[in-house]
Symmetry: none
Subunit: 196 residues, 4 copies
DNA sequence: CTCTAACCGAGACGGTACGTCAAGTCTTCTA
DNA sequence: TAGAAGACTTGACGTACCGTCTCGGTTAGAG
């Protein structure tokens, strides 16, 4: 039956992705070779190549398979609290070991493999962006955001600093840092007119 | 004399960096091998290894050698205009061919080579950050910024979205985008009290 | 019915052998793979393996299937003319394209596959040897050969030089060459007493 | 000094050829892979490929390197005895283990690799042929051979049957067989006129 | 002006991994 | 139930670079 074959196939697929993650955690993505993955998974190289055309896409699949928890937005009615919650969860997931380095390497790979970049956007970034945008629109309707704020930018302005820390300065993504970003972004840089 | 030797040495160094850039532009960093660099530069592999311990650091040196123009901040008195100016220059330099892809690859390499990451920060990011911070402090003194704004974050909040576009969504960094970022960051997301 | 099944089976067998010959002629035996044969024949690999245990034996079957013309000895009463006739036919069949190279490859394969060697002898060499021996014995009875000649060797002495040319020096087997061999072998190397 | 480099190079060359022979004797030429040779010799694959363009030519070099003894013709004044001597030596060298199977495989390889065939002829067959021809011409001058015998064929007529046995029927090359060949070839197949 | 030490190009070397091919075995579905 | 289809492990192919290493040939400064 198709089920049996599919099950067998899925088994190999899963085994290979697991071996990929294991090796990536042990030695880093730079040392990850398809040869080693196949050997660790007890599988022929061809069986890997049959499923993934490149090391990068294999790694992408493996890393994204971890995101089972999801990063869906809560809606408690308080937009700042909700953003803080999801940013904290994202930081906890992507910004620290063991997944942080893997995610860093994944983005690194995307810099010279357009297929990885495209797949990463399509499968991870865009859904997350859409999710956030929906929550922000609800908040705007409730008057919790400036009515003229450029919402399409919001995700990038909130995420940008986190990615900057993750990828450029490679400093830790602490709760305090998230709070500071939220406060600064909500307040804006302009001097306020005297509210009194 | 020492001068002659140094001159000769510098010549080789420069030749190698030039070959590195040429090859990187022709085939991309992924295809850049020390073997090819040495061959292109007409130099023994040893002569490359004597100067750089890794492909990444060679590439870093080569890419940073291009930043001769500098990204110093102007001070026209208008902080928004000045920021727009420097962001535009940065986008023009780093966000489009031929240097954009190289810079992307450089950051990609930094994701799995801590030495590259450290050197990139020390030699490029930190000076630029300090530069911007100085200009922002002057602006705050002049009342052009909210007096309580978290200035240490400012660079990250302004740069973050640009890097996000460069590295994640890999969309172009247009003037319009820079304007939108500036406007959004200055305005902040909070609803304003009626300014009447 | 069994007949139908047998017919179908024979069809496959023939199809596979034909595909084998086609591929061998196109690309040479060295490039002949069971994978390619099966694919060319539109047949599963199993269907090939079910019939032949090795590439060599498949190739043997395929090549020998061409020998339909046969190399039976004529008997015109003139032993030299008859030998020349059969040697010429053999040279025409095995010593030139398209079958020459295939026959060479077949003997090449026999050098490291004892099963091929044994089957080649049993199915091709031995019958031909017996055939020649019978004709030679008739000639001896008729006084056309030296009565003490070592007839068991005759086939090897006549064929040996042809095979030597085919396999070692790889020069063409011309009519002239066959004539020279016949003349030399019949005359012998010893100096003759004056026939006066 | 050049000597040192050459010595080092020769060492590797020799080591590789030795490993080739060892493996060929252990498992046969069919199982001989460059990968295995390199590994056995404790050498990188490239070091093998740098010296030999193909498995066949490596094997040829390795096998021919054994022919140190040489097969030069003696000249005792008795041409039959001398031919018997050299044929016996050749049979002892090439017709029995351990070199016999290797020589068989070498000729097998020559059947589908023209470069091997050419090199085998140039480096082994032709010198041996010339050697024999010279000895035969001396014998003819001394009246030990028929003055009109086709000497250019002689080597082929004498060697042919031996090669036929080695390659086709794969029967052993005994002293008795050599004697029978010599006797038959010297006598010729024609009936002799009554010498009385 | 020679001597000498550093540097240089060239490239051999043992390795590791690449991505491909075919081997022979095995399983699944179809006719 | 035999057969096509093809997945599977294995192992070898020939290539590309890795980083280390020798080699002989400059070259420039010290003696």
């Amino acid at each position: 039956m198709t089920d049996h074959r599919a099950a067998r196939t899925d088994n190999r697929t899963h085994t290979i992705m697991q071996a990929t993650l294991d090796l990536a955690r042990e030695a880093g993505y730079a040392k990850l070779s398809i040869e080693a993955v196949a050997s660790r998974a007890g599988v022929g190289k061809h069986t890997v190549y049959r499923r993934w055309p490149s090391r990068g896409l294999l790694f992408l699949d493996a890393v994204l398979s971890l995101n089972t928890a999801g990063l869906d937005h809560p809606d408690t009615g308080d937009i700042v609290a909700d953003l803080r919650e999801v940013m904290t969860r994202a930081a906890a997931l992507l910004g620290q070991p063991p997944w942080g380095p893997l995610y860093q390497d994944l983005i690194g790979e995307a810099q010279h493999d357009p297929e990885v970049a495209a797949a990463l956007n399509r499968r991870f970034i865009e859904p997350q962006t859409a999710n956030t945008l929906a929550r922000l629109e609800a908040a705007k309707d409730q008057g919790q955001l400036a009515p003229d704020f450029d919402l399409d930018l919001a995700f990038e302005i909130l995420s940008g600093p986190l990615y900057y820390r993750l990828l450029i300065t490679q400093q830790p993504l602490t709760h305090a840092y998230i709070d500071r970003v939220l406060q600064a972004v909500f307040a804006g840089m302009s001097p306020r007119p005297q509210t009194r």
